[in-house]
Symmetry: C2
Subunit: 407 residues, 2 copies
Amino acid sequence: MEQGQRSGSRPAEPGPCLSSPCGADQAASVSLLSGAGAEPGSRTLAVAAVLPAGGCGERMGVPTPKQFCPVLERPLISYTLQAMERACWIKDIIVVVTGENMEAMENIIKKYKHKRISLVEAGVTRHRSIFNGLKALADNQPNSRLSKPEVVIIHDAVRPFFEEDILLKVVTAAKEHGAAGAVRPLVSTVISPSADGCLDHSLERARHRASEMPQAFLFDVIYEAYQQCSDYDLEFGTECLQLALKYCHIKAKLVEGSPDLWKVTYKRDLYAAESIIKERISQEICIVMDTKENKEHIGHLLEEVLKTELNHIHVRSQALYNAGSDIQHINLEQCYNFVCVNVKEPDFQETQKLMSMLEESNFSILYSIVVISDEQKLQESLRQGAIIIAALIKERNSALIGQLLVA
Amino acid sequence: MEQGQRSGSRPAEPGPCLSSPCGADQAASVSLLSGAGAEPGSRTLAVAAVLPAGGCGERMGVPTPKQFCPVLERPLISYTLQAMERACWIKDIIVVVTGENMEAMENIIKKYKHKRISLVEAGVTRHRSIFNGLKALADNQPNSRLSKPEVVIIHDAVRPFFEEDILLKVVTAAKEHGAAGAVRPLVSTVISPSADGCLDHSLERARHRASEMPQAFLFDVIYEAYQQCSDYDLEFGTECLQLALKYCHIKAKLVEGSPDLWKVTYKRDLYAAESIIKERISQEICIVMDTKENKEHIGHLLEEVLKTELNHIHVRSQALYNAGSDIQHINLEQCYNFVCVNVKEPDFQETQKLMSMLEESNFSILYSIVVISDEQKLQESLRQGAIIIAALIKERNSALIGQLLVA
């Protein structure tokens, strides 16, 4: 039932990060968490997360459950895990999947090097799946490598775009109030229909909120609520905050979240997710030259023109003499775009070597784009070349990888 | 204040259609509408539409109001008008915009050849804007070229993806019940916060619906409701169905709509809209040859390979001897993708002529993509060429227009 490693006190090793890498805010997070309502000098708060991922994605209109739908060839859930792993202070991440998707999920964890993950089998409804995840964390489980946390985060596998900040906010509020959840303003007015399919009444939009994820709970509160919970709630309920209210009389603190918290529900949401990820991974570009001669000139010029074509980007230039060793200096986890300019080798030997290395690395295989061009032409029409390079980086169409494009 | 033409009984002339052109279902629509609750043999139902477009788009996080945000370089509202125009049985379309956007809106109508549109100045809230639109349609307006409809549709300028079918459904239901509106299942649970920002109670998701657009009303019902309406409702209300209920005791019929009805609200929705439009306009491709010799061979081969690369596409081949006259045979309103294969002219003279014509036409300027390649190479590696062509059609990056790409 369980799989994966426990991080213990080792530094966490997250997959490639789309924004700030794990550890940047670690000191701040831990101090905030230990200060939040705890005794001075107390130990760091033990936090775990449960991600229900047992849904079948019926609203998407595609046969693959939405959490496994590829976005730039990588399953959606992997982006969510990547975002969760950035919070180094989360000890264990429980992913709840159906038996039939267990193997696929194990492969995703392996391929994208996810850490601190344990897999638990889903129930037939969302609430039953979350309950299974909580049971795995409860301290009376035989042979479990997991330990009971003080606070547990519950988050959807199909909400990949949250920041560490909102996790901190809901965990801090849960520690103080017993339960907390992110909310957003309503986009549409909510109405109540009568039995004959007509309007009975409409709700005042400003007085209501959409309940989003993440949510967090004192573990004992939410575990008690699920243990007390009726079969009707387990079958038809949708809201964890409501269970804490109904069975433990805990009024959850509501935390205003950002628009990023949205849930991938329909096919159009996959399109939006893809565009957001494309935008994020376009921002770091590495220009690789096969010679040091003339590097300053062409590299610098190309950098300047690329910066006018793509907003908010960071460009580095690097001379490459021997792909086998020099590639080590390039941080594959941070950069998803390589522009190779060949001067010396007409047969692109070194570039081919670099491409192979990128393809072998699990990090960049989905993202690397290599433009092969000869310097003579590039210098002649640098702007034309840069426009094409910028278009390739923005659109990131896998069909164009390895194509010879002449500016 | 008003601008635009009345179609009267003339056939409507819609702009370029993304799906089925206007008129395809006209006979069926009109018969359905005249049969719906009306006396047999009665005249066709008079229908108008009001589109409030006075919002400032504060949720988008961009300075341009969302209805004017470009999607593939064309303002979002133009797609909504295009979809509305497909329903030929709608006599007048009232677009309500702020004074400061009036001129921009007039230019959009001119540029994209929108018909049956009248512009009305917005009020400071959504309800006040809709009321202004209704006033322009009421029969007591001096010098108005508009006439009072029996049924009025209210639709958002930022919901471009509806089908004619849902318009018919809400209009038919409004004729019978006095009011009707499209609804969708809730994506998130709705909760009610207490004054201290904690959970007071959560609503059962299955017993509530999100109220979407379009909505439709007997004109006299909704006009009466707005005339009776309190200042508080005009300032803070969001729901037209609620006004019909409160002031005219009309219980609106709720019509289950498709996921397409969603409202462009956040930046991610613009990304989704762009992807949906790209997908739709990729489906018709015209291969243009500069010679009849060998046409069968290369044209047919290219067609076959493109069909394997792009799903659900329709490809036509056409020999082009003289762009000036032959271009007339290509329906610019239906096709957004042209692939030119040059054999005879190494200087691409005819292709240049075709490109100029496409650029001059208001229809295709945003969409035309021309791949220039020489036939010799294309035959050598037809699959490589087709993959690049398919990628260009799918991604539709304007930076690559006119570039020389060698497969």
